[in-house]
Symmetry: none
Subunit: 190 residues, 4 copies
DNA sequence: CATGAATGAGCCTTCATTCAT
DNA sequence: AATGAATGAAGGCTCATTCAT
């Protein structure tokens, strides 16, 4: 028998993400994905159970990759602000460098499909950030607010800036990144 | 007297939005919409050119309604902070009262479909907010940043809180709304 | 709107039965049926819910038609043997004149699909025959056996003869029909 | 020593017959058979040329097994009625003990597939029965009718009783078997 | 205006079979 | 011998849309 070809799995995933970000979830069919991945439609089903499974796995892949990117170089011995800034910069870098993955993530996360995926929330990334937030609170740096609120003010503006950048509404250059970081910092610190 | 029955148009719109927020764009077909609206599939084409037109009109309707809701009671003679808070509260009230419309808006706005809709940016709402922002800058209240940045820090966290509320991740009660407002205010003011 | 075209429904049914008797249940697809009926595949679903429904309805149609044919001219005031013979002859005539319907019936009735159809046993035909059997028993003509046993010795050989006729293994002409009737009569009477 | 693993061949055959009697020919695919037989789809093709060949071989196996069972203990020196009864009892025993094989046989024999199988009519069973029939005729026991007619009245009711038994329409116990035998005997003898 | 009938194109998925190991 | 990977073709069914009334 032949051995499973991992490059095939990746070609399928890549093709799917590309099509979805370009044409939307609704207009992305299995056969279009197959064609774009240079594979028979039936081959997709060797690697994924069905369409829903494919989309879910795509979402998890993207999430894992971005989480990893966000923590690059992070070390929990760093001072709070320094660590916080590192993560912020990682996030910006990742968004700018991976527009397709980023757009796919946003589309999927805002569709009802997301409710059927296992949350798997406790990833390394979320944990690291939660720890950092707690440490910052203990040191009297961050406001004494619940984590969801903290998260809302940390992620949401950053992602919106990413979208605006890819839309051409603004250019998220180094200067703007720093400015946005300072605003976020003002928002969350005492 | 006009013959087109506006209640039918609204039934179609309502059914469509419900289905889309529940099942997603991909699983919402014209005939399902027709069935849910108690109407023949052909009837939809009396009111909308085709599916794309229907979706776009849906998006515009929702946007207009929410814009209107945000400005309820607003008057540009109000002091900056007061006006700002009024709008913030209107926004929270609207999100909480219209979960379906809100979810639809987010889903559509994060899909590639949004790029094909006429931007129609200069709505009354955006204009009022832009004016308020400019006034606040002139009065030395707001930071001297570009409008997109301002927008990112105003909308994004609010909408994320709305989503978290509908997800059950938090309860956006009055107290939390006020707290979030203060954080936003801290973020945007000097 | 257009009115439902009954000739279309019949064309579909006829095409389906033809294909099934020729190629078998397994090799008869909805699109082949559509093609043979000169109709779009989607049109079949205007008249039948799905493939299973189509097959079931086909089976019921064929059963109803044959039941009706068996009773042609029957009247429960006829003497037992006369009535019995009339039905026997009707059955032979029907089998010989409707080889396709007959073959379809046998194929379906011997497939597991038959278990999912509503039995609808109490048709006029079965009732008339059951009554005749009871009358014959009361008059001391038929053996005192349970109805299923009676049925087995009445139907089964007749149908097998029908099959053999269509197979070319024998010719079920008038003489053979009479001979077979006498054998059946010998079997069931005291 | 031969390499082909006969237990594998039998596992495939058994799985196939089970699936076909349960779900029907149309719903029984090669991969389902493979899965049920705990074998790779490709392995089936080691033992059978293709699907049609598999089905045909299945049919022949079943036929051979049943023929053999019918003749168990038979010896052409037995008196006609005794031999006839022995065969009848063998047939009943086999049908009751092998519901799956029996159902498969009926399904296949009533489908058009049967026409593509080599008839292979002159099996030991058919020969023995034909001889017995001729002997009975010569001895003035059986009616002077053609063999097909004889066959129709011998097999058909028996098999129908078997079906009714498996359907739950009756219980083919010893008593009923004897009764049915007597009816058959009445039908075929002078 | 409003509709159910009608449809070719396309959907997701599984099919029977072959390939490479 | 035995197998899982791989596939083009075909499966049943639904789609967005138009037609005829």
């Amino acid at each position: 028998m032949r051995h499973k070809d991992n490059s095939k799995r990746e070609a399928i995933a890549k093709a799917a993400i590309n099509l979805i970000t370009t044409n939307g979830l609704a207009d992305t069919s299995m056969s279009k994905i197959a064609k774009a991945a240079n594979v028979s439609p039936a081959t997709i089903y060797v690697y994924f159970e069905n369409k829903e499974d494919l989309l879910n796995q795509l979402y998890l892949m993207v999430k894992r990759k971005s989480s990893k990117a966000m923590l690059a170089g992070y070390d929990n011995s760093l001072p709070v602000k320094e660590g916080f800034k590192l993560i912020w910069e990682n996030a910006c870098r990742y968004m700018l460098a991976n527009p397709t993955a980023f757009a796919f993530h946003e589309q999927f996360a805002n569709s009802p499909l997301v409710n059927r995926v296992s949350r798997e929330e406790g990833s390394a990334y979320y944990q690291a950030l939660a720890d950092l937030f707690e440490r910052g609170k203990r040191e009297g740096i961050f406001k004494d607010i619940q984590p969801s609120l903290f998260a809302a003010f940390l992620y949401a503006p950053a992602m919106m800036l990413g979208k605006q950048h890819h839309n051409g509404e603004l250019v998220l250059d180094r200067e703007l990144q720093d400015m946005a970081f300072e605003i976020t910092w003002d928002a969350l610190t005492i």
